[in-house]
Symmetry: C2
Subunit: 140 residues, 2 copies
């Protein structure tokens, strides 16, 4: 069983209170407010352990590093804004996605990711630019 360390608490807290899936890099930044010296390797190790315990869950979007969110959320999908690159939760799931699989295939799970512009970025007046934490990734 796992030890209660301040690093681990800081990471858990960041994910629990994040409100949206967070990147490992964002987690270091957030956790450093509580544990200044925290290392990225620790974040990766904790995040892996927490995911195996079922406390958090990896949100893996096509072509991007995994983000992490709390696992106690109902089944939902994700929306990635083309502009600010943030990822949002999209509640619910209409089902029916699993039809059309070829004969003999069995479906265990599915992932749906929507791409577009979020409400803030859609509205020209109150335009929001990429946050500092995600701007680095835009060079891709």
């Amino acid at each position: 069983m796992e030890r209660q360390t301040k690093q681990r608490h800081a990471i858990e807290a960041a994910i629990r209170e994040g409100g949206r899936p967070l990147l490992p890099a964002e987690l270091v930044t957030l956790a450093q407010e509580t544990v200044p010296g925290i290392n990225i390797a620790t974040v990766y190790r904790c995040v892996k352990a927490l995911a195996e315990e079922g406390v958090i869950r990896a949100v893996e979007l096509p072509g991007e590093p995994a983000r992490y969110e709390r696992a106690d959320l109902h089944h939902h999908h994700h929306f990635r804004c083309d502009e600010c690159e943030r990822v949002f939760d999209v509640p619910g799931c209409r089902g029916g996605v699993e039809s059309n699989v070829p004969d003999g295939f069995s479906v265990r799970a599915h992932e749906v990711v929507l791409f577009g512009r979020c409400a803030e970025c859609e509205r020209p007046s109150r335009k929001r630019t990429r946050s500092a934490t995600t701007a680095r990734r835009s060079s891709r």
Copy 2:
């Protein structure tokens, strides 16, 4: 406009005749049958150019490197086998996936990925193991 080189032809041919989305590493292997000395950097450069021309398309699955397939296919989704790790095309799209987005959000595109076991791996008798080209990745 682009030059016709044997490297480029080999890569285009591999994707055109692949029948399923292929990884850059698989493309080097395939293209080497025609152009022995072909380099991975060339594959990445060609693949990027071909994608920009609209000849091929990137298929990006959550948590995995991009695969590439010909662009002249109708809209479809993908199925990844847990066992053999191959990716298959799933024809059609029932729609309705875009509902539930929060107010003010506009959807530009969507991706659906199904996970499970393909027909071959589902059938115990004719079990298929991971191919040599994908086995490396299983350590993840």
